[in-house]
């Protein structure tokens, strides 16, 4: 049990420091570690957990606590959430303090500009990878594309899109 908790903490702690551009940027890496490297679950199980995490309110990091829950129930969930938020939070606490002093330096501007395309590439690449697993047929791809288009062009509340997806699934359209 405690060996599993330690393993969870190490996996998510690593991911925490790699999550440039938000938690969604490391979902593919999480999948690679959890499914391929550790063999904790299948890719399909992981995708189901991802869908559940997206349906809960709050930041997307919850996927980590769901994986933790699956492996070691409540302690696992708590450890995984602390693992994925802790290291990066401590870092941003200290960097936010330093930034106040050095924000006008040229290097800071270069960092800010250089990271922007990387985080966009990470988010879209991650979405593409997940889509390959989640979308099992043409109707799923269509649903995914419609959802993407609406989320991009309108400010409709995401819950409506998730609800529509759930209904479409229940009706057997996907």
């Amino acid at each position: 049990m405690s060996a599993m908790l330690l393993a969870l903490f190490l996996v998510f702690g690593q991911l925490s420091l790699m999550a440039v551009g938000g938690a969604n940027a490391v979902v593919p890496e999480m999948l690679r570690m959890v499914v391929n490297e550790h063999g904790w679950m299948t890719a399909a199980e992981f995708t189901a957990l991802f869908a559940i995490a997206q349906s809960a309110p709050g930041p997307n990091v919850l996927i980590a606590s769901l994986v933790g829950w699956q492996m070691a129930s409540l302690p696992g969930a708590a450890i995984s959430l602390i693992g994925i938020c802790g290291p990066s939070s401590i870092l941003s606490f200290y960097v936010a303090k330093l930034w106040q002093r050095f924000r006008d330096y040229r290097l800071c501007h270069a960092i800010q500009r250089g990271f922007a395309p990387l985080s966009i590439g990470l988010v879209l690449g991650g979405a593409w990878l997940l889509a390959g697993i989640a979308n099992t047929g043409w109707s799923a791809w269509l649903l995914c594309a419609i959802s993407a288009l609406i989320a991009w062009r309108t400010s409709l509340h995401p819950l409506w899109l998730l609800g529509a997806g759930a209904v479409a699934g229940l009706l057997g359209w996907v």
Binding site: V20, G22, A23, N24, P28, E29, R32, A48, L49, I52, Q54, P57, G58, P59, V61, W69, A77, I84, C85, S89, L91, S92, F93, A96, R106, A110, I111, G114, A116, P117, L118, I120, G121, L122, L124, G125, G126, A127, W128, N135, A140, L143, C144, S147, A148, I150, A151, W152, P158, L159, L161, L162, G165, A166, V167, A168, L170, G172, W173, V174
Partner: protein
């Protein structure tokens, strides 16, 4: 004139708790609404700056932002309160959902719901990514880096850490040398 209110520790916790409990998918617009418009804890410029910082640092953007805001007003204890306020309710709800899922995962209806939910959820991320991409600087090096990262992760399935070790220095160097044309 934008007013500048200083939240108490209790207000930090309850403010972020409120965001956690209603924020589905994209929490960011809600955070902006609360911090700048409703509570006046930050000005727009301060918000943009702290958000930018949250985005370039690793970790969930909103979590980073909450830590930075909490820390600015009340140091480490403020950061901890904002952080736990933000995550407490979503964590409990996610636990509830996943235990329901464990209980009923054999039901065909649930499998069908998830089969529809997953593509819609993935679509949301595409939508957010496209939104960000539309605001990206229109220079060839920026677009090339974004495309290269997309291909490496999405199509070639490269592991993230070595990729970042190459891409981050490259991106910062390019941004340093290729100054934006003065407008």
């Amino acid at each position: 004139m934008e007013t500048h209110n200083i939240p108490t520790r209790r207000e930090l916790f309850t403010g972020f708790f409120g965001i956690g409990i209603i924020g589905f998918g994209g929490v960011l617009p809600l955070v902006h609404h609360m911090l700048v418009l409703r509570k006046g804890w930050l000005t727009d410029a301060e918000f943009t700056e702290l958000l930018g910082l949250g985005q370039i640092l690793p970790g969930p953007n909103v979590v980073n932002l909450s830590v930075a805001v909490g820390g600015r007003f009340h140091g480490a204890s403020g950061a901890l309160l904002a952080f736990s306020g933000l995550l407490l309710a979503p964590f409990c709800i996610a636990m509830l959902l996943v235990s329901l899922y464990q209980q009923y995962r054999g039901l065909p209806a649930l499998q069908q719901v998830l089969a529809g939910l997953a593509p819609a959820a993935t679509g949301l991320i595409f939508g957010m990514g496209l939104r960000l991409a539309a605001r990206l600087e229109r220079s060839s090096w920026c677009i090339a880096l974004a495309v290269a990262t997309f291909v490496a992760i999405g199509l070639l399935h490269w592991p993230l850490l070595p990729l970042l070790l190459v891409m981050v220095p490259l991106a910062v160097t390019l941004a340093w040398h290729l100054q934006k044309e003065p407008t």
